[in-house]
Symmetry: C2
Subunit: 363 residues, 2 copies
């Protein structure tokens, strides 16, 4: 491919919807790695629009000064982007921004709703219908309406990527769909929630009560003030629903995932397991049994020798059983600002790679 | 993308050079998964030519009957393909086959030579110069001349994929280059040779001598009659050289990798390590230290709590340290007919995916 053709393809205009920890963190990575992205991947991304319900919306066709926008976002006042950033267009709502800001790619990084998928679902559908590629960290739309979103992406001939939704930047979705393509996936078992794994690890290692371990997790920012989404297994159920849809073509919503959390696990349970040479882990499981896709999340007492028993702290892991390879494991962090930003960045690079035909740009 | 455009792209004519366990195994997978490849991936591969120094060469423009060719290959007589398969063209040598058989993709699956890279290197260069994509399981060409081969692929605007060369079908090369793109890779440590890991595991678990464990590995087909390439660490050094070139842009040949094998490890070493709560593992290490790329293979005594210490038997693993994600681990089988065939099949699907623009074909 001639340099000219490559050049023509390397500029991407990006619209970020949701400029919190994830959206802002991704933007920071784009800014920090600007030179490397250009030199190594021939990629020149430009953030042209930001829409955030709290910080306000700006649209700058020539490109937003990211460090400046991030700095303002950190101050965090209501509407600060609109008030303090000198943008030619501002005050548009998210949907108007997605529709009217001239962008190639919409990065959807708003909050997760595992029941309705909103507002992410509307944002994503709007973007796809406009022929814009979508990259998202939002579990909701994929967990409740993956097939609809996928169909829209296909109809509009654009990419829809969501690596961040399972295991953050640790390769999971693309690992299974792309790296293991050619294999039959037989089942997936995994630790997909770092908060609960941290709590269980602390209870075992330090002999702490559930309440004490949870408090520590909250202090460290691993658990929310209302920790129920993590400790009741709903976050894990969302990820199990995504995997069941993407890998096995299931139609299981997060509410339909058979689910038990870790709220009832006490010191004595942990000790009793330890005596048997076992550990309690919150295991998400997805498989297809006689044509029926099944997904569950529940604490399991597993031998310390098992791979998943050896995954400690906030680390996540997926154990994938396949026909050609038997058991394959991928493990790494499953949350965090930089880790989630990496997933979005990798999705961007993947779209770029798919669009840069006939050249081994990463070799 | 319209069905018509997709249809036009899904047919690939394949030339297989080297029809032993790996090349033949790959062909079998294509035959066994014919329907699935077509339905799921819209891929219709057709093997049109086979060239093997031992079995002979055939070229059938309309496509070779794979089960028949595999059956003949299993009988194994000299020149059996030429003698018993009714092909319109036969008796061509490998280079002539690569040059003149009309194919889109050349699968190079001949034997590994870690000093010269031949005959694979010549095969690959010939194919790339003809504008044919290359998929290879051959460590030699990548370990000694990666940059040359890469440049040729770029000049001719074709893909050159070699997932099979490190960890067989367990994602390694594409895991690092594609799934972790966007990260800075800081270092890689891994268990990349299943034979030595099997021997060390047996020595520890059963208290066997090195000689006894090696003999068992040979009986099971994990080690060759002349086991030196495995036990002296040369196979691992070849993989370390590939990783050092591909990931860090190094220029290290397998001979230049600092290397110690496991031949000198005895029962007492293993026992002594065990007493300290440690295990001996043959660790390949690749990193960049002050601008200088370094690669080594040597037995290390590591704590049982370390991830790599928990990798047992013939299983392989890579532990990759990155900026955005900290430590990420991938683990699975590192050898075997089906496992290596899977790597070649996945490379084929990747090329197909790159060439099928604008459609999320794996979603």
């Amino acid at each position: 491919m001639s340099e000219g053709k490559l050049m023509a393809k390397r500029k991407y205009k990006i619209c970020i919807v949701g400029f919190g920890t994830v959206g802002g963190g991704f933007a920071e990575q784009l800014a920090n790695k600007r030179e490397e992205l250009q030199q190594r991947y021939a990629l020149k991304p430009e953030v042209v629009a930001i829409a955030d319900t709290h910080l306000g919306s700006i649209y700058v066709p020539e490109g937003i000064d990211i460090p400046k926008a991030v700095e303002l976002a950190k101050q965090g006042e209501e509407n600060i982007l609109e008030d303090k950033y000198d943008a030619p267009m501002k005050g548009w709502n998210s949907v108007k921004t997605i529709k009217e800001a001239e962008a190639d790619i919409v990065v959807e990084a708003t909050w997760t709703n595992l029941v309705t998928g909103e507002p992410g679902l509307t944002h994503i559908k709007t973007a796809l219908k406009q022929g814009k590629h979508v990259i998202t960290s939002n579990k909701g739309p994929c967990a409740v309406a993956y097939e609809e979103v996928k169909r829209l992406a296909e109809e509009n001939e654009v990419y829809m990527r969501f690596e961040a939704t399972v295991l953050a930047g640790t390769p999971a979705i693309s690992f299974i769909r792309e790296n293991l393509a050619g294999c039959e996936i037989e089942h997936i078992r995994g630790i997909v929630n770092g908060t609960t794994n941290y709590i269980l690890t602390r209870m075992e290692r330090k002999g702490w009560s559930f309440a004490k371990a949870l408090k520590k997790a909250q202090e460290l920012g691993y658990a929310e003030e209302d920790p129920s989404a993590d400790i009741d297994g709903l976050d894990a159920a969302g990820k199990a629903a995504i995997l069941s849809r993407v890998v096995f073509g299931g139609d299981i919503s997060p509410q339909e995932v058979k689910r038990t959390g870790i709220r009832e696990i006490n010191k004595e349970d942990i000790k009793a397991a330890k005596k048997e040479g076992k550990r309690i882990k919150l295991i998400a499981k997805v498989d297809k049994d006689g044509g029926k896709v099944k997904a569950s999340v529940k604490p399991e007492k597993i031998s310390k020798k098992q791979v998943l028993a050896q995954v400690m702290g906030t680390t996540n892991a997926l154990l994938i059983r396949t026909d050609h390879l038997g058991q394959v494991i991928v493990s790494g962090p499953g949350a965090g600002k930089e880790e989630t930003g990496q997933a979005l960045l990798n999705d961007l690079l993947t779209i770029h790679r798919y669009r840069t035909k006939g050249r081994n740009i990463y070799a």
